[in-house]
């Protein structure tokens, strides 16, 4: 399969990229890793007039803590997450997710920015970013703006990003002591999108009670879902059996799955609870200083 014809541009700066997006006024698509976009183009599900390849823009791939945030540049590869010692130590939810995204070959090209802003409910990083309370930084013709991911995912393949805006960075609140996070999904076959997936991020206070909690779900609705009631139910509580089980049942209630080839509705709902519980257990263990 060969994609339909398009004009190709490889800008060398964010400003140049934004000018191109503006020139094509919604008819251009940003090419980062290309592992979602190129397959969609081959299937004629996407037929952009032009591609703006951001891979030649310098300094757009990085992972660093700065001020109160962990900053991840848009063209950072999934494999860079997996190989980052900082991520493994302080943001293990992203190591978990990177390990479960597609396969090692895809991870060599697929990017963090693309995974976050593509808007496929089967992408794994959106649920992680929701659980972590991340923000995205977008640059458009009017300059730069910061958007919380909690208000970013509008519908399948629809985000708050304007078609003339470029996502340049994902910002995650800097990890704190007694914070633990985890991600896990189940797949029908190796490398497939999730049948269901769950992300959890917990911060414990000095007494060991939950100070804040984020729980989110992958591929059980039109977008990644922040299970706010589930996370909220843990705040101020001890992370014990009863509270974790209750939070997992609230995560199941937040799921809005469709039945499809990856499983029926009831199964996906049940798995939302099971996976939420598994990642909560792992996040608690990590917050308490274990693995």
């Amino acid at each position: 399969m060969i994609p339909p014809p398009f004009e190709y541009y490889a800008p060398h700066s964010v400003d140049e990229a934004v000018a191109l997006l503006r020139r094509f006024d919604g008819e251009a698509k940003v090419l980062a890793g290309g592992h979602s976009l190129i397959p969609l183009m081959k299937l004629r599900l996407a037929q952009p007039t032009a591609l703006v390849d951001i891979n030649r823009i310098p300094n757009l791939a990085y992972i660093r803590e700065e001020g109160n945030h962990l900053r991840i540049g848009a063209t950072t590869r999934t494999n860079d997450l997996l190989e980052s010692a900082l991520i493994r130590k302080s943001y293990p939810i992203l190591t978990d997710a990177a390990q479960e995204i597609a396969d090692p070959l895809v991870r060599n090209l697929g990017t963090v920015g693309g995974n976050v802003c593509h808007g496929d409910p089967g992408n794994d990083l959106p649920a992680c970013m929701l659980a972590l309370g991340a923000e995205v930084v977008a640059v458009g013709e009017k300059g730069s703006r910061t958007l919380p991911v909690s208000d970013f995912y509008k519908d399948t393949f629809v985000t708050s990003l304007e078609p003339t805006e470029l996502l340049v960075e994902v910002r995650i609140p800097k990890a704190r002591p007694h914070q633990g996070s985890a991600y896990h999904k189940i797949e029908k076959r190796a490398g497939d999108f999730a049948m269901a997936g769950a992300a959890a991020n917990l911060v414990l206070d000095a007494s060991g009670k939950v100070e804040s909690a984020g729980i989110a779900l992958t591929n059980v609705g039109p977008t990644a879902i922040l299970a706010s009631a589930a996370g909220g139910s843990l705040v101020g509580q001890a992370p014990d059996e009863a509270h974790l089980a209750h939070a997992a049942s609230l995560a199941r209630d937040a799921a809005q799955p469709n039945g499809d080839l990856r499983g029926p509705v009831e199964y996906k709902r049940a798995m939302a609870a099971v996976l939420a519980r598994r990642v909560l257990d792992r996040a608690v263990a990590r917050a308490q200083g274990g693995a």
Partner: protein, 183 residues
């Protein structure tokens, strides 16, 4: 197989209307190649149809099977999901670039010795992924090999011998290392 030794010239141009052609300059198995192609030309088609290197296979064409795996600046990628123009100015290594001076690479030799193939269709991609794995870790466990080849499907399901072959190749590289063998 000794493609790196024979001059590589663009056999055909893939421009046929549509968007303006782009010039792609890429180093393939150590030899520079320049060609005018449509932007929509996929790297795998560029390699097979423009450059004439047909060792890289097209399997699923949907970035699942890994038969089209090549190295892009040393990292294994699925060339059915990369535009040729994305490789502009970069280095590509294909299965034809594994052997050195007419001698099979340790990975090729080990696939031969362990019978790491049945129909052979997935083999070029398997060997490219194996070569990249062993460059980082020449003594991988069974689990590490299986994780590394998650993106390479063998429809004959001959994985047991493929894993054995990759581990044997690692051993060959370790014993050859002092003599300057390259993966």
């Amino acid at each position: 197989m000794a493609a790196s030794a024979r001059p590589i010239a663009p056999a055909a141009s893939l421009t046929s209307g549509g968007a303006p052609a782009v010039t792609v300059r890429v180093t393939i198995n150590g030899s520079p190649v320049t060609a005018e192609v449509e932007p929509r030309t996929l790297l795998v088609h560029f390699l097979r149809e423009v450059v004439g290197l047909t060792g890289t296979h097209i399997g699923c064409d949907t970035s699942n099977c890994g038969a089209c795996t090549v190295h892009l600046d040393g990292k294994p990628v699925k060339s059915c999901t990369v535009l040729a123009v994305q490789a502009n100015g970069r280095e590509v290594r294909t299965v034809e670039g594994l052997e050195v001076g007419g001698k099979l690479s340790p990975v090729q030799q080990a696939f031969f010795e362990e019978h790491g193939l049945q129909c052979g269709f997935c083999t070029p991609g398997m060997m490219m992924t194996a070569t990249a794995l062993l460059a980082k870790n020449s003594n991988p466990t069974d689990a590490e090999v299986r994780d590394a080849i998650r993106g390479n499907l063998c429809r004959c399901t001959g994985y047991v011998n493929i894993v054995k072959a990759i581990q044997l190749a690692g051993k060959k590289m370790q014993s050859a290392a002092p003599a300057g063998g390259s993966p």
